[in-house]
Symmetry: C2
Subunit: 156 residues, 2 copies
């Protein structure tokens, strides 16, 4: 898994939406990696927002949509780890706290806690009662990590 | 499919990464929808960049990583359509061309062309020779739509 993360980080090239067919072998710029990190977290947040709204009864439960969102969240949750790696603490405005880089082992443990909870989502999403419990656990893991490692305002 | 898109757009709430456990039922702000659209397209672009680099031999082919990326791209490709809907042509800096909103039927056809090509990716990604052909087709569909509907610079 770790190797795949590294491979993804190495391979993910600084392609822009403007030139989808232009690829380069060089390492992506920190600003592109930070933007990628933010994109992944944004999609996770939006998709989980939908699941949590279903779990809370704020929107109607839709099994197909819930299972799809859960699978997407699980896949996305495996991507950000290398994007919090060395040198990616600055280069673009970010809310990622400097503690991520000063206590990487603790941060890694918090990320893995989140990933562990998220792994349960796809199986849970097919049943509303189970989703309620699991979404609560995932939400706590998200919040715990954000409380500890996310700044209130952009820095850099 | 269309209903699910609408449901996703309605459900996707204006949660921020800061407050992952706070959700609201109100429609998301245009600026949040535009940011969400950009996040999805960015993740698609990065993941497809990796696949295309494998297809071109610029990075080593890794079957597991390729299949994972292809599945992720396929799922993400189903999300942006409602994010190009009415009222989302402005509200934040965007490269999305105004033609998207002045000729929505043509744009919809271009999006569906892309989705049709992307649907073939997961099955193709497990074999490098097949991936080369399919990634080429997907790349052309991406480029065609970007050429016609994406501005070179941010507007708004």
């Amino acid at each position: 898994m770790k190797l795949r993360h590294i491979a993804l980080a190495m391979c993910a090239v600084a392609t822009t939406a403007t030139s989808a067919t232009t690829y380069a072998q060089q390492a992506p710029k920190p600003e592109d990696q930070i933007r990628y990190r933010q994109s992944i977290m944004n999609v996770i947040g939006r998709q989980f927002g939908m699941l949590a709204a279903m779990a809370k009864g704020e929107v109607p439960y839709n099994k197909d949509a819930a299972v799809k969102a859960a699978g997407l969240i699980e896949t996305l949750s495996t991507l950000p780890a290398p994007l919090f790696g060395p040198g990616l603490d600055k280069g673009a405005p970010t809310k990622a706290g400097t503690k991520i880089w000063s206590e990487p082992d603790k941060f890694k443990a918090a990320l893995e806690k989140m990933q562990g909870e998220v792994k349960k989502l796809p199986a849970a999403a097919g049943d509303l009662a189970t989703l309620k419990v699991t979404a609560g656990d995932v939400g706590k893991a998200c919040k715990g990590c954000h409380d500890d490692y996310q700044e209130k305002e952009f820095r850099n």
